[in-house]
């Protein structure tokens, strides 16, 4: 057979050859199946992850509230000093009216059905709209966390009383309120428009979202121009020498330096030496910028490289300077890729936790920051804080916050993919 093979005659139709070919095709199919399995393993994991999060988190998107009518025209309120009025008593009186007579001993339990910030909520509404003082107004007051859990079926009322956070009297009153149709479960806008709070029923992500926004803004403003400038320099101008080699190695290395190390850097340099304020989005954003920078440089360089040299030569050939060729032709052509890379880099920065923990962006702050110098949290650190809170309501809220964060990430990635596909260019 060997001799035959060498003289150029192989019997391709022989049984042995055919069997062999069948086995080869089977091996081919097996490899294909392994690939499918690998992909479905990864996707299945993703599905389970999102599934569990949604399962625990969906409850946080509604909030149990009680609708209470308060006749403010009767109340003793000095219109000149709305802050100073005794809102606590006003609200308590109104609440008491909802269920008739309550023995004194039960009052504390009863009031604990409602969020303890109820007076402040009413006050803030009135301050925002003083016309409410002229008559009877309806206020929707969130129930406190244990009752919210009860309403959502998270607390089993059949358990012995000492095993649950709500006692029998509270359940009794809750049922009364429900019977009167005062209880509702509207969509929890507070999750998006409130800042953090100790009370799960009031806690929201507004502070974290704006903190993340400011930090990302800083990150973008620093890393985008610097990253592009550095990439252009390294790709188009830098002579090949020791220094540029070192820079190159450095950049590649920084792209893989553990994020916690950037936190240590921020702690020592930005907080320690520069004396920048703790917990500020400025510092968080600077750490994130340093983290994003290498990724951005690498992406930008790759996209500059992918512009065919014929375009470069064309521009130079009619007498454009190097700077002009880059500014007029190469940069615009690689912009879609750069934008994609930037968005992906920012998305990564958005989800980054460790460096923010170290520069103090895991603080408790009850108002959204108004700028980059004000203390704030960010989405991932807010998740971290909520996850560590004892109140039951924060369990669902943590998952909900993660879902919100994931939604942001998916949107950002979708934009990136859209850009990539829209502007993808084939030469």
């Amino acid at each position: 057979m060997a001799a035959q093979a060498i003289t150029g005659h192989v019997d391709w139709k022989s049984d042995a050859m055919q069997a062999r070919r069948r086995a080869r095709y089977a091996a081919d199919r097996r490899l294909q199946i392994y690939g499918m399995v690998a992909i479905f393993f990864a996707l299945g994991f993703l599905a389970i992850l999102v599934g569990t999060l949604s399962f625990t988190g969906y409850r946080a998107f509604v909030q149990t509230t009680a609708t209470v009518e308060i006749d403010l025209s009767q109340a003793d309120i000095d219109r000149g000093d709305l802050m100073g009025a005794n809102w606590r008593n006003i609200v308590r009186d109104a609440l008491r009216q909802q269920v008739g007579d309550i023995p004194r001993s039960d009052q504390r339990d009863y009031f604990n059905i409602f969020t303890s910030s109820a007076p402040f909520l009413v006050r803030d509404k009135v301050i925002a709209d003083p016309d409410l003082l002229d008559g009877t107004a309806r206020f929707s007051i969130p129930l406190s966390d244990p009752l919210d859990q009860l309403a959502k079926g998270q607390i089993n009322p059949d358990l012995p009383e000492n095993q649950r956070r709500v006692n029998d009297r509270q359940i009794e009153y809750f049922n009364q309120l429900q019977a009167k149709g005062l209880i509702a479960q509207p969509f929890n806008w507070g999750l998006f428009f409130n800042a953090d709070s100790r009370f799960p029923e009031l806690a929201g992500l507004a502070g974290a979202i704006s903190g993340s926004f400011w930090a990302l803004l800083v990150c973008f403003v620093i890393s985008f121009p610097v990253g592009i400038a550095a990439a252009i320099y390294l790709e188009e101008f830098a002579p090949k020498n020791r220094l540029t080699d070192i820079i190159e190695i450095n950049i590649n290395n920084l792209a893989a330096v553990p994020s916690v190390v950037f936190g240590l850097l921020g702690l020592a340099v930005f907080l320690g030496w520069f004396g920048l304020p703790r917990s500020a989005p400025l510092v968080g954003g600077m750490c994130l910028a340093l983290m994003t920078l290498p990724t951005l440089i690498i992406v930008t360089r790759a996209s500059l490289k992918s512009v065919p040299s014929s375009i470069r030569e064309a521009a130079l050939g009619i007498g454009a300077s190097k700077h002009e060729a880059i500014l007029h032709h190469i940069l615009p052509l690689s912009m879609p890729t750069i934008m994609t890379g930037t968005i992906i880099g920012l998305a990564q920065a958005l989800g980054e936790t460790a460096p923010l923990l170290l520069v103090g962006m895991n603080a408790f702050i009850t108002s959204p920051p108004a700028g980059i110098f004000e203390a704030s949290t960010a989405l991932p650190t807010q998740i971290y804080i909520w996850a560590d809170s004892p109140e039951r309501g924060f369990v669902a809220r943590t998952s909900a916050a993660i879902l919100v964060l994931l939604a942001f990430l998916v949107v950002m990635n979708a934009i990136a993919i859209f850009l990539r596909q829209r502007f993808e260019r084939r030469w």
Binding site: A2, A5, I6, V10
Partner: protein, 271 residues
């Protein structure tokens, strides 16, 4: 230098025989790339144990036709082949045909030498191994040696079979690719501008080799050099804009073409 003399060329041209058996035949072959037609009803016979050259200006469909002969076009997304192509009378686009077998029987050498990033030995042994042609190591050794010998490379590489194939010079690489194709004992060898990336000396060597291979194999070669076509082929087919303009014995084509476009092309009026 191993350059062919004029006399040799002359001699070759006259050795053409029209009565050779037909090894492959294309009937009304059309090819579309993503809906854009690249070949229009090409009818061409490839006679056995002869060298058929395909010539024509750039983009006229030479490579496209060549690649449809061993269904390499299957690997191109959006490429659709119509008409009929037969090998020894069997339709190669018949669904029952096994492409693996087809490609083993109809080997191919590409424009740019593309040795695998493996040792020289492994490059040649790859085909026999996957097809299970050799039964043991010594048979495999034998196949490798004889293939390299036929490709006129053995003497140059026999002492460094374990060095990477990519380390050879361009001409050697191209001969290595030819050896690799020969190693699976194909019946037909398709060559797509095999010399266009080579320097003149390497080109001459490969041309010489093609001439020798003709004794055992049927060869179809695409070339952009009229001179090369004249030197190595017995039959020539001229393509233009996706149409087969003219085909015939090489000597006739180059001395007395029927078609004005062929005339213009070989005299360098265009292309």
């Amino acid at each position: 230098m191993n350059m062919l003399t004029d006399a040799a060329v002359e001699q070759k041209l006259h050795s053409t025989s029209n009565e050779a058996a037909i090894k492959m035949r294309g009937k009304d072959v059309t090819v579309h790339y993503n809906g854009k037609q690249a070949l229009f009803g090409v009818n061409l016979d490839v006679p056995e144990q002869q060298v058929t050259a395909l010539i024509g200006p750039s983009g006229c469909g030479k490579s496209t036709f060549l690649r449809s002969l061993n269904r390499m076009n299957d690997t191109i997304e959006g490429c659709r082949v119509g008409g009929e192509i037969t090998l020894d009378g069997d339709d190669v686009y018949d669904p029952r045909i096994d492409v693996v077998e087809l490609r083993a029987r109809v080997g191919m050498v590409f424009q740019k030498p593309n040795p695998f990033p493996k040792s020289i030995y492994e490059n040649v042994a790859y085909g026999p191994r996957i097809h299970g042609i050799a039964r043991n190591k010594s048979e495999l050794d034998q196949i490798v040696e004889s293939s390299l010998e036929k490709a006129a490379l053995w003497s140059e590489v026999k002492d460094r079979l374990n060095e990477p194939g990519t380390g050879l010079s361009g001409g050697q690489q191209q001969r290595l690719c030819i050896a690799r194709a020969i190693a699976v004992s194909p019946e037909v060898i398709l060559m797509d501008e095999p010399c266009s990336a080579l320097d003149p000396i390497a080109t001459a060597k490969v041309e010489e080799l093609i001439d020798e291979l003709r004794e055992n194999y049927t060869i179809v070669i695409v070339t952009h050099s009229m001179q090369q076509a004249a030197r190595v082929s017995q039959r020539t087919a001229m393509f233009h804009l996706g149409y087969l303009v003219e085909e015939g014995a090489t000597d006739k084509m180059f001395t007395n073409p029927d078609d004005k476009r062929t005339q213009d092309y070989i005299t360098g009026r265009f292309g």
